[in-house]
């Protein structure tokens, strides 16, 4: 379903998106770094291959809907939307600043192309499920996607939504979990163990596909497979590396909630972080 050339093109987009993420977070001087970098491949694949959408017509009735439950990783969505043509890439530098459409956590009415407001964790799967339920009532054929984090599976609301989507067999709903194993205070399995996540979803009557969240082809194939499952919703459990692409940040939970310039300084001094990370993205050392 996807050619090698397409994969290469998406990988190049993912690199550009990561570069923008570093630049926008450094300019904002606050925000989350690990999650957005870790989800750059999946967002590139969504916006440049999987989703039916039109950047020039964000309210297109037939568009696929993408809910973002873990709103704090919204820099990856903003950066991807900018590179897809929803707005100029330069606008990304207004992230979190007064008057910007790019709110620290996504706000529905501020920017065309968002499907809802999010930030407080645990609500997205229910919202996406409600949307998918309503769309099915009216026999709509678009698909509803929901990106969610692993940490927010500590929220009761998340499981209520999973139970609801399972009960109503919402086959038009595909959720994608950023299984990066970190949250603000540490590793998920130390803070509040989540495993066995795949078995839990299966027990709630979901179809589960586990993928390497940095393998474009695997992810795109999983989205195709989800379309073919007619009797239940699908969870694409994407194993990702937090901070992917920047070795200094990768797998270090201390970067979950800090931007370049404000993160841990034991490896890179604060004033060098942006420059070093941009170089690391290109495979260089400074």
């Amino acid at each position: 379903m996807i050619t090698d050339a397409d994969v290469k093109k998406i990988e190049a987009k993912a690199l550009a998106i990561r570069t923008t993420i570093i630049e926008m977070l450094a300019a904002a001087k606050s925000g989350h770094t690990s999650g957005p970098l870790g989800m750059a491949d999946i967002f590139a694949a969504l916006y440049f291959h999987v989703l039916k959408h039109d950047p020039k017509r964000p309210d297109l009735a037939e568009r696929d809907r993408l809910f973002l439950s873990n709103g704090h990783i919204v820099p990856v969505r903003y950066a991807t939307m900018a590179h897809a043509g929803y707005f100029p890439v330069e606008e990304c530098l207004t992230l979190r600043k007064f008057g910007s459409r790019l709110q620290g956590h996504p706000e529905y009415h501020m920017l065309p192309g968002l499907e809802s407001t999010s930030g407080p964790l645990g609500s997205g799967i229910s919202e996406a499920a409600g949307y998918a339920y309503a769309a099915r009532m009216d026999k709509k054929t678009f698909r509803v996607f929901c990106a969610t984090s692993d940490g927010e599976h500590e929220e009761g609301n998340t499981w209520e939504g999973i139970m609801f989507a399972g009960k109503y067999r919402l086959a038009n709903l595909t959720a994608i979990m950023d299984r990066n194993n970190i949250q603000i205070d540490g590793d998920t399995e130390d803070i509040m163990p989540l495993e066995p996540l795949a078995d839990k979803y299966r027990a709630f009557n979901w179809h589960v596909i586990e993928v390497d969240g940095h393998n474009i082809r695997e992810f795109v194939d999983a989205c195709e497979e989800a379309k073919s499952i007619r009797e239940k919703p699908t969870m694409i459990l994407a194993h990702t590396t937090p901070g992917k692409g920047v070795p200094t940040i990768e797998n270090d939970y201390r970067w979950h909630g800090n931007p370049p310039g404000k993160g841990p300084t034991d490896k890179i001094p604060a004033d060098k972080q942006k420059e070093v990370f941009l170089a690391e993205l290109e495979g260089k050392t400074v």
């Binding site: 809802s116 919202e127 996406a128 409600g130 339920y133 309503a134 209520e160 609801f164």
Partner: protein, 337 residues
């Protein structure tokens, strides 16, 4: 005397018909669903006691059961409203908006989508279930949220009309409902407009014209306690104390024009509600008067305590919201002029 424009029912003092306000919701939501097929109804395992089962029977394909999960109730409804539906969500108010307030704030309030949050079983008049099920803080919680309209009908008939009106507002609404059967004061001909308070009682006798200058106190009441306010007004009139009773069914947006006008005429006011005095109707009126027309004010409501099991009427009396308490409050208000 009863204001003729209010077109109230006959015999509201002696032998009133009774019904719970939630019964008015049950009827109204079926009418709203008949008028607009975007209307959907959700409940968290309380279809019958919220009266949502009437809609379930009429429109099974537009009824959604989410199980005992109030956070899911709010967020599924938000998703449906983002799509284009008009969801009414039903549970007891201590659970919704009590348990799911943040979900309501973020996914309904900030999103500014037309979900009608129906908080049932409010006030101590819930009765035997006790404090856990007697919502006394819900007006405060919902009045504080931008974009929300807050409506508390005085009887079943007004509740029916309010439900139909809420479905047409196009934004988030909180509707407060009560369990117990209470007098039906209004009629199909009584005026009802969201945001427009209704004067139900005026000083008598009136010589001519609409002059109300001899009013001693303006009583602003909301919900079924409007009936107690009318009982108090009648008794006070016999004692020579003239009052105006205003049914403030819409707590947000507050009908500032009517409230300021009546407060000015009376020079002293009393608020009446089955809710904590912190943050309810009284709070809303006090905020308005403090800014625009400082006026002596007394508050009839629950004074910083939780309820308990009992019969509805004995609890309303015990917590100081009977007609006699309203009369005392009126006299205190006069003494402060």
């Amino acid at each position: 005397m009863i204001h003729p424009d209010a077109k109230l029912a006959e015999n509201i003092f002696d032998k009133p018909s009774t019904a719970s306000t939630r019964e008015g919701f049950g009827k109204g939501v079926v009418e709203a669903g008949t008028a607009d097929e975007r209307v959907v109804v959700l409940t968290a395992d309380l279809a019958e006691s919220t009266q949502a089962h009437h809609f379930q029977k009429a429109f099974p394909e537009r009824f959604v059961q989410v199980g005992v999960a109030e956070q899911n109730l709010a967020t599924v409804a938000a998703g449906m409203a983002l799509y284009g539906k008009i969801p009414f969500i039903n549970s007891y108010a201590t659970f919704s908006p009590g348990r799911n307030w943040e979900q309501i704030r973020t996914t309904i309030g900030i999103n500014n989508v037309p979900v009608i949050v129906c908080g049932h079983h409010t006030g101590v008049s819930v009765g035997p279930d006790g404090a856990t099920h007697q919502a006394l803080e819900d007006i405060a919680m919902m009045r504080a949220l931008p974009h929300f309209t807050v409506i508390y009908a005085c009887d079943a008939e007004e509740g029916r009309k309010a439900t139909i009106a809420a479905a047409k507002l196009g934004g988030p609404v909180y509707m407060r409902w009560a369990r117990d059967k209470t007098p039906i004061m209004t009629t199909p001909g009584s005026p009802f407009k969201v945001g427009k308070a209704n004067v139900l009682w005026i000083p008598s006798p009136r010589t001519e014209g609409p002059s109300l200058v001899n009013t001693d106190v303006a009583i602003f009441a909301t919900g079924h306690l409007v009936h107690n306010a009318l009982l108090a007004a009648r008794d006070l009139a016999e004692e020579g104390i003239e009052t105006t009773v205003v049914n403030v069914h819409t707590i947000k947006p507050l009908d500032e024009e009517t409230i300021l006008r009546e407060a000015k005429r009376a020079g002293a006011v009393v608020s009446v509600e089955e809710h904590q005095i912190a943050g309810g109707l009284g709070g809303a009126i006090a905020e308005l008067l403090a800014q625009k027309m400082p006026t002596p004010m007394e508050f009839v409501g629950v004074h910083d305590t939780y309820g308990q099991s009992g019969e509805p009427k004995e609890l309303v009396e015990y917590y100081g919201m009977g007609a006699s308490h309203i009369k005392e409050a009126v006299k205190r208000a006069i003494s402060r002029k």
